[in-house]
Symmetry: C2
Subunit: 218 residues, 2 copies
Amino acid sequence: MAKVRVHNISLSLDGYAAGPDQDLEHPLGVGGERLHEWVFATDFGRAMIGQPTGDDPGPALDNELLGTADDGVGATIMGRNMFGPVRGEWPDESWTGWWGEEPPYHHPVFVLTHHARPSLEMAGGTTFHFVTDGFESALRQALAAADGLDVRIGGGPSTIQQYVRAGLVDEMTVAIVPVLLGAGERLFDGVGTDALTAVSLQASPAVVHVRLARPAGA
Amino acid sequence: MAKVRVHNISLSLDGYAAGPDQDLEHPLGVGGERLHEWVFATDFGRAMIGQPTGDDPGPALDNELLGTADDGVGATIMGRNMFGPVRGEWPDESWTGWWGEEPPYHHPVFVLTHHARPSLEMAGGTTFHFVTDGFESALRQALAAADGLDVRIGGGPSTIQQYVRAGLVDEMTVAIVPVLLGAGERLFDGVGTDALTAVSLQASPAVVHVRLARPAGA
C-alpha cells in the first residue's frame, strides 16, 4: 500500500518551521536559514548545492536520513511558496523553480496553486504539474502518478500542516534544531493531539530526529 | 559566581510546557501529565511519589539528569501556580504546597505572588517565602539565601519565561517529549532569538535533553 510521507522537516525549539516575513530575499523567512544549517553541514547537503564533499562529511546519521528520504518515492507534492516567490497570477512562465535546469526530484511534482499553468517538463525526469482544485485532488493525482510508490509531501509548513490535519500523512520525520526563531510559521498549530505519535528519537550532534507515524486505526 | 539555572522542563513537540485549562483537577493542564510520564518511568520519579523502585529503573540518562538537577542549588524560585491551586487572596494558611510535610527542596523556596503571607517553615529544611515585590526582588533574595550556591527557577512555564526574557537565566535544560498537546502554555513565546543557545543534545529512548546556556557576552 503506497504511503504518504514527510521527511526531515526542520523545527526550532520554539516550534517554528520557517522564520517570519518570507520573501524573495528570505525564502525561508528571516533567520529561517538557521533551521537548515545542519543540512549543509553534511556531504548530502553540500552535494545538493554543488559544493565539494569528502573533507568533512558531517554526522553519519544526518547524511543517512537526508540521503534515504526519497527512497521509494514516486511523486512529490509542494505548496506554491516552496516552488517559488511569485504570488498571484503567473505573469509568464519564466519562473521554473529554485532548482535550475535539472531539479533533484526526477519524478512528477504536483504544485498546489490557485492559478492554472501548463505542466513544465524539466531535465532529469522532473515534471511540475500545477494543481488548482485542492490538496486532496493533488494527492489523488500524485498517488496515480507514483504508480504504487509512495508520495512525499515536500513542504512548506502550511502544506504539510494541511495534510496532517486531514489525517492523510502516514509517516513523518522531523529534525528538531536547537535554535530559537522567536517568530515565524508553526508546523503543528491546529494539528490536534492524536494525528501522529512518536515512534523513535535519535540525536546527532546537530539535531534530533523524531520519527512519527499515524496511530494504528486512525 | 552563583548561577541561575532551570532544569528538566518538559516541552511538547508543538512547543507547550503545560496543557490548556489548568485547575485543581488538572494542575498541569488538560493532557499535561503526558509531558511528565518520562519522569515517573524512572526510579527517581517513582521514589519522588513513594512508589517502589529497582524493578525497572528507566533510562539511565533520564535518572541521572533528574537526580543531579539540584546539585549545587541553594534556593529555588517558583510561581504561585506551581505552589498550589489557590488564586487571589490567601483565604487562610491551610494550603502548604503540593508536597506534604517534608517537601523535596531542603532549602529556602521563594514563591512569586501578589498576596502577602507569612513565611512557612516545613520539615526537612524547606521554608517557603512569599515575595510580593516582583521577580527581580525574588532573585535577589534567593541569591542572598543561597549564600554562594546556585538558584534554581523551578517553574511553571510563565515564571521561567519571565526570567529568560529578562536575560537572567545562565543555564537551562529542556526535555523534549515527543507528544502533541494541541494547546496550552508555551515555554519560549516572546523569548526572542538570542537569550539562550544550545550547548548539547542527548536522546534517551523517551525524551531528548537539550542543554542551553546564555551566550557569552549576553
